[in-house]
């Protein structure tokens, strides 16, 4: 019997799960190797659980999310959170630095109808997660590698070192050294293939902190490039603002 795959959505933009549909050439092979049992974005046909692989997109932001994620864990062998929302809380975790009631009052005419949590948090803060696939959005080749590794019972090759590593392997000239552009690459998890520096921009940190990030040292270097404290806060408060290493560093400059 083919292993059953389910795709779940929490607070997110759907971009990560669309990466699976984006696999185009490989999608048929994936569909041959796996039974796509629950994937509302792709098909209305739903096969009941339990599931072998659950891909979870999005962050936990409501009391209802808390119940749903428990249920998903209970019926899945492997739970894999995909993307910056699911692994760090996403861009919506910017609320964690302010009072959420203030936002509600500003946005909604009747805030009393809104049920929300004060924080947007990663899936792994609530249940046991077997693997976290980083990125905003995730890289489809990495998703395929992960599915491939699971099916073949081997370790996935998903490097957790810095983006600098990918930058150098690709032969890109460092934008920080050659142009003085602040770049989050040295503290950011590899996975995108170092896209931004290849287009003469600093890394935005979409894949969150690397396996041994050291943002305090990087901030010092940014400061000598003329980056202000306010800009430092903004640099670390992107899609992964609630990832511990970035959160702590941004708080240092508030």
């Amino acid at each position: 019997m083919k292993p059953k795959l389910a795709v779940w959505k929490f607070a997110s933009c759907d971009g990560c799960q669309l990466s699976l549909l984006d696999c185009e050439d490989e999608l048929l092979m994936v569909a041959e190797a796996l039974e796509i049992a629950h994937f509302p974005e792709a098909s209305r046909a739903v096969v009941a659980g339990p599931y072998d692989i659950s891909l979870v997109e999005g962050s936990i932001t409501t009391p209802h999310d808390l119940e749903r994620i428990e249920a998903i864990r209970a019926q899945s062998t492997w739970v894999i959170s995909i993307g910056a929302c699911a692994t760090a809380g996403g861009i919506q975790a910017l609320r964690n630095f302010q009072a959420v009631e203030d936002f509600m009052r500003m946005v909604y005419a009747r805030p009393e109808y809104i049920q929300t949590l004060s924080q947007s948090t990663a899936i792994s803060e609530h249940i046991k997660v077997d693997f976290e696939l980083r990125g905003c959005p995730i890289n489809k080749n990495q998703l395929l590698e992960l599915i491939n590794a699971l099916l073949n019972r081997r370790k996935p090759h998903l490097p957790s070192e810095s983006v600098c590593h990918e930058c150098k392997l690709r032969g890109t000239v460092c934008v920080m050294v050659s142009q003085g552009i602040p770049c989050l690459g040295p503290v950011t998890h590899a996975g995108c293939g170092a896209i931004c520096p290849a287009y003469q921009r600093g890394c935005y940190g979409c894949f969150g902190p690397s396996d041994s990030p050291h943002p305090a040292a990087l901030s010092q270097a940014f400061k000598s490039l003329g980056v202000s404290e306010a800009e430092l806060v903004r640099l670390y408060r992107g899609f992964n603002s609630n990832a511990p290493a970035f959160r702590e560093e941004s708080l240092q400059h508030e």
């Binding site: 041959e32 190797a33 810095s162 600098c164 460092c174 050294v177 050659s178 010092q220």
Partner: protein, 373 residues
């Protein structure tokens, strides 16, 4: 072998390039790309960075325009020639499970034949250091060997070292040592530079003959010598290899490593730009069905946490421990392992470290701490 010095003009260099191309070489050399001088394919001297120089410092690199027509008036940039001999990613083998069982095949790849134009003394020495690593001893690397055996090296003697250079300390320059096919010195006497050339191999001598060059006048040779002496005196940095090695061997427990660990990002840029660093990782890439697989080798670095994964845990957990490993291997243990230093003083690790960590200052600081206690 001819050791005679001849005089070439720029048109001769173009002639050399077209002869190399006719002989089946891919000519690769310095070009300006993305605000730096990198190595890439070149067709003629028109592709070279004419009138472009650079200013380098700790964690900083900027191109500048020169007020002359120098083609080689720059200091080594972010890339090393190792990318041609030891590419960042290399397919090692394929395996396939079929009706005949498990079939393993060597990758069927054409071995590129490179003519490297503009190899500096430090870079030539770095290639020789990697030769030792990849070719000597009981396990030699065929992928490296195949490429290495075919290369043609046109060296350029250095006359204007940069602020992060210390090749003189490492006996790697400024003039290129033996091992090149041809070596040239760019002379900026007149508006159009001319070149003093020496052959270092039969291949090089043969090629030179076709240029029908004239003998170099003695006055130019004297000037060349003066340029080298001046270049040797202009090194931006210096290092005493014996002292460094001793300091590292006795400074294993120094508190200095914690201090470096507070500044170092563990980003691995220093190792990846270093022309002698050779560490790699190997991965199996399977297809979804699990019936075929490719084995790839990829540059790795001792700054990666996973590089020393043993029984599921990395051995060198702190950034300071990883920096200590790198600098100690480079400047001390390489000596025990390969009878030479692992550093040629090219300065790349200093320039391309985003936070400007400088191994020569780290050795000084370590030394100072040790003499104090």
């Amino acid at each position: 072998m001819q050791t005679e010095v001849v005089l070439l003009q720029r048109l001769h260099l173009d002639l050399l390039l077209s002869q190399l191309q006719a002989a089946g070489y891919q000519t690769v050399g310095p070009v300006v790309r993305d605000q730096a001088i990198v190595y890439d394919r070149i067709q003629s001297t028109a592709d070279l960075p004419m009138g472009i120089g650079d200013i380098q410092g700790k964690g900083s690199y900027r191109l500048r325009s020169r007020d002359d027509a120098a083609l080689f008036g720059y200091v080594v940039g972010p890339q090393a020639w190792k990318k041609y001999l030891y590419p960042p990613r290399q397919l090692l083998m394929r395996a396939e499970q079929n009706s005949r069982g498990l079939q393993i095949t060597a990758p069927d790849q054409e071995v590129p034949k490179y003519a490297m134009i503009g190899v500096r003394g430090c870079e030539l020495k770095a290639i020789q250091i990697q030769d030792r690593v990849f070719l000597e001893g009981p396990y030699s690397d065929d992928f490296y060997r195949e490429r290495r055996e075919q290369i043609f090296i046109l060296a350029v003697n250095c006359t204007e070292p940069g602020n992060t250079c210390f090749c003189v300390s490492m006996e790697a320059g400024p003039a290129a040592g033996p091992g090149y096919d041809l070596a040239i010195t760019e002379m900026l006497e007149t508006a159009e530079p001319c070149y003093l050339a020496r052959a270092g191999s039969a291949k090089g001598a043969e090629l030179l003959k076709h240029c029908n060059p004239s003998h170099a006048p003695a006055t130019l040779l004297e000037k060349e010598n003066a340029l080298w002496t001046a270049a040797a005196a202009q090194m931006g940095r210096s290092l005493n290899p014996e002292q460094a090695s001793a300091a590292l061997k006795s400074g294993y427990e120094s508190t200095h490593w914690k201090d470096v660990g507070e500044r170092c990002l563990s980003c691995s840029n220093c190792t990846l730009v270093c022309p002698t660093c050779f560490c790699s990782g190997v991965q199996e890439v399977t297809d979804l069905a699990g019936t075929s697989s490719e084995r790839w080798r990829e540059w790795d670095s001792c700054f990666s946490l996973n590089f020393t994964l043993t029984a599921g845990r990395p051995i060198r957990q702190s950034p300071g421990a990883r920096y200590r490993q790198w600098i100690s291997h480079k400047l001390a243990f390489w000596q025990d392992q390969f009878d030479q230093s692992g550093c040629v003083g090219c300065g790349r690790c200093i320039t391309w470290c985003p936070v400007g960590i400088d191994l020569t200052s780290e050795i000084e600081a370590l030394n100072a701490l040790q003499t104090k206690t």
